[in-house]
């Protein structure tokens, strides 16, 4: 089955990004495909490569990057939300790309299921 995932919150502040990541991993482990994760609202902050949590804490930016590159998941950061919040191309961690809101509707159309994680 093809999954699309919508994440609405930044890393750390809310559990949404953690839950979305664990859901994506579990789906892939079961043989499903996660075609795209769309980062909207504060979730654009998930792409900030300078994020440096304490060494005994999880690093969500890195985890998303790895998921994206290892499993071909398209990690899309919404351009309008990113502009407002100061997330520029220079800040993007590996695997993330900035694109338009149309990418969210598109994955809603093309995926079998769209699952949202937010606050």
């Amino acid at each position: 089955m093809k999954f699309g995932i919508l994440v609405n919150e930044g890393p750390f502040t809310h559990q949404a990004s953690d839950s979305a990541y664990l859901f994506a991993k579990a789906a892939i482990a079961k043989g499903h495909e996660v075609t795209r994760v769309f980062f909207y609202h504060d979730a654009v902050n998930n792409s900030n490569k300078h994020s440096a949590p304490q060494s005994d804490d999880r690093n969500l930016v890195k985890l998303w990057s790895e998921l994206g590159t290892e499993h071909g998941v398209d990690l899309v950061v919404c351009v309008a939300a990113a502009l407002r919040r100061g997330i520029t191309d220079d800040l993007l961690a590996e695997g993330f790309n900035i694109s338009g809101l149309g990418q969210l509707i598109e994955v809603g159309i093309e995926a079998d299921r769209l699952v949202t994680f937010g606050d």
């Binding site: 919508l6 609405n8 909207y40 609202h41 351009v79 309008a80 939300a81 191309d89 900035i98 694109s99 338009g100 809101l101 149309g102 990418q103 969210l104 509707i105 598109e106 809603g108 159309i109 093309e110 769209l114 949202t116 937010g118």
Partner: protein, 132 residues
Amino acid sequence: MADDYDDDDDGPEVVKRFMFVNRKAPYGSIYALESLEVVLISAAFDQDVSVVFMDDGVFQIKKGHDTDGINMKNFSKTYRALDGYDVEKLYVEAESLAARGLTEEDLIVDVEVLSSSALSDLMNSQDVVISA
């Protein structure tokens, strides 16, 4: 960066039933505004779009917003522009209105007021539900 709007011609051919559920008050957080931006974009994809206002989401379409005193953009007129984007199916939950002391007269756009039960039926006919 890709263009914010896709051309109609490039869109996939499938038509799905998309429902956008608005449950949050405006201005206190950005969800109302940014969710409206998603609804507008969805119009470019020729899908079957419904927009629901329930819980504090009904306050998004209260008449008479005047944001001068809080230094924020008043986006309430954009709801009136939805019609021009062929987004015509706007629904409000009756119970949410009543609990907040509001009636249809208070709303800036024409909507269909549904009971919880009728709204529940409508939700159960959708392919994609997006809420924030």
